[in-house]
Amino acid sequence: MKAPTFAGVALAALLAGAGVASAKTLVYCSEGSPENFTPAINTTGTSFDAARPVYNRLTEFNRGTTDIVPGLAESWEVTDGGKTITFHLRKGVKFHALKDFKPTRDFNADDVLFSFDRQWKPDNPYYKVSGGKYDYFNDMDMPKLLDSLEKTDDSTVVMKLKTPNVAILANLAMDFMAIGSKEYADFLLKKGTPEQFDQAPVGTGPFSFVAYQKDSVIRYKANKDFYGEKPLVDDLVFAITPDATARYAKLKAGECHVNAYPRPADLEEMEKDSTLKVINMPGLNVAYWAFNATKPPFDKKEVRQALSMAIDRDAIIKDVYLGAGSKATTLIPPTLWSFNDKIPDVPFDQEKAKAMLAAAGVKTPLDIDLWYMPVSRPYNPNGKRIGEMMQADLAKVGVNAKLVTYEWGEYRKRLANGEETTGQYGWTGDNGDPDNFFFLRGCPGGKPGDSNPTKWCNAEFDDLLVKARVISDQAGRAKLYSRMQEIEHDEAPELLLAHSIVFEAMRSNVTGYKQSPLGTHAFEGVDIQ
């Protein structure tokens, strides 16, 4: 009888587990492994989230909003008609220490110049390190915007722009503009291991990097010297859990406190569970159906308005977005500053659509192309299904829509060239500045090969767009964007379909967590009760 008893004891011990007391640790179940820890060379939200606890930027997004607030730059002045920005840097900011690197000086202007130069100047020794693709720096047109960047003393940096553009302050708050330590970079270069800069990050942020095991865990420690909102937990752990169902199970079992990207199908059950809470907000994105305004009959705004009215968007949101989408009324989601809440919704009225088509002299049946997205995107979960529903709606007003698609790269290229008559497309915002959405409808974007598939160009709209880049006060800019939303609504270059709704789930004892309209995850100010 001895053996079974021993086995029984062993099994009981295994099942019971062993509890060990520990400091306060916040566990975030993240959805994947970062490519590395330098946001400048990354493109995925997963990688940005992993580097964010460690780094700061010159400007920052106020947690839970898209408002720009001081970061490592304590203040700044815009002069020279919006072409010169002078940054006054924060003093006494300490960089983190690692096992093999102890910083000997505080943050200063050299760190700012280094962080720009790495992405900007091919002669910077770090330019080629870790593959050297600076997608965001280039996508956000930084090389075209920046003329020069110089330090006048250790705590002042002067930025000169080629054209006035105050929206650059929002670019500077984006992850790719994280400020790293030049001293650390030099140290590693001397040691002959510059790629360590991207694998074991040293920053000034609320948490310092401790360790990373690929596909398993990232560990951070609270930075007691942090100049901003102090971390309320001692340790932060990213438990890498790629499967959404497994993340939910871990959350339920209490193995993690905050859960990235819950599955829409699990939301109902999560909301019923008293140990959990679910929060949501519209994503920083938009899905739309573009009319090519250079191709008849879509050169007439009445035709564009009529077809917009023919589509039942409520049905699409219910059946395709499964509740994780909200109807869009303007190009920007309601969480962005300058959102115009006076813009009415486009009504679903097929009788009126038919009458308007007739009044515009359009003979039915009218044959058009309807291009649908070949891939699922955050703002468009199923382009084909949406295309089919639109096709059925259009048939009812006498329009025969032929469904067309291409491989994603090809699709994008052809849309940019304006080959379609109508087509689905969308946008995911980058920096929370309205300019980052409205530039899509500016006249330069309508040129062949550029990003505006509607090829619509409106002089007043374009004029306001350029003006809004020069004004430095937010309220003044908001007025112009507000007017632009009216023009766009009236002109209907596209039918705005939806913004996705982003959900986040956490244990109900987590306090202080703020969801970001930018879709990022941040943990300073978060506590466990």
Binding site: A13, L14, L15, G17, A18, G19, V20, S22, T25, V27, G32, S33, E35, N36, T43, S130, G131, K133, D135, N138, D139, E195, D198, A211, Q213, K214, D215, S216, V217, R219, V237, A239, I240, T241, P242, D243, T245, A246, A249, K250, K252, A253, E255, R377, E407, W408, G409, R412, K413, A416, Y425, G426, W427, T428, S451
Partner: protein, 337 residues
Amino acid sequence: MVAYFLRRIALTIPTFLALMFLTFAAIRLVPGDPVEVRTGEHGMSPERLAYFRHELGLDQPVWRQFLAYVWRLAHGDFGVSLSSQDKVLTEFLTLFPATLELSFFAMLFAIAIGVPAGALAAVKRGGFYDQALMTVSLFGYSMPIFWWGLLLIMFVSVRLGLLPVSGRIDLINYSFDQPTGFMTIDALLSDEPGAFLDALRHLILPAIVLGTVPLAVIARMTRSSMLEVLSEDYVRTARAKGLSPSRVIGVHALRNALLPVVTVIGLSISSLMAGAVLTETIFSWPGVGHWLIDSIGRRDYPALQGGVLLISAVVVFVNLIVDLVYGIIDPRISHGH
């Protein structure tokens, strides 16, 4: 023996060449190249696109890319992962211990239960136990891994709270270096009280899920092999000599019945690797299966090509070992001739 070993190794060369070509071709048939998948709605300017394609050698004709790939491999260079910029071999060696540890425990589970269960079914042939076991093993064999894994997580971990949901160790309470990459061994080396037990607790569910299919196969194979052996003359002789039933079955019959079972175990290694891809995904197990899935999504050509090749090498190697083990179990099989 040595000649046999060398001959077997030589035979694997065509297999590897075919594999190299297949993985190379298959990933290139999937639309979107590594540069393309990085770009979102922004698109990328044609100049930058051309620049990065050139950097990665993607602007070369495919046959030339293939030859360059074979040439590098011949020099032991598996390339550099496009997403992490780490050497593919380094990434593989970092992640492989996790897969190996999981596979080892899955196999241990499958053998420890499969062999006795199959043997018992053969002895009690036709009885209730036999029928029940065969039915259950049929279920085990046809169980979709994903569903089975989630079911166990939901019931054992979430509902009953008996075992952890996923991962390899409790991340809140334990944090130690992992010199070997095998969590159970590293936990023992760490001197942290309870760490080893916790690592074992994390292994139970994934090992059961991954071991279920091999368990069913081994149980059925042991049963049929035992039935054959039990009807042999020498077993009857052993019985007639008056040996105890346990000695007849355990020593005389089972040892001889194990030979085909060993073959099956060897063959199971490849299905174990296939199962690891799914099991690792469900249990957030940081092994090579999960890494390969990620590499497909990112069109990380070098990681995918190198990973598949290295896993294949493991499968081929294990099968080679199994062949050699035959000689030890059954001295009648001589590799010399």
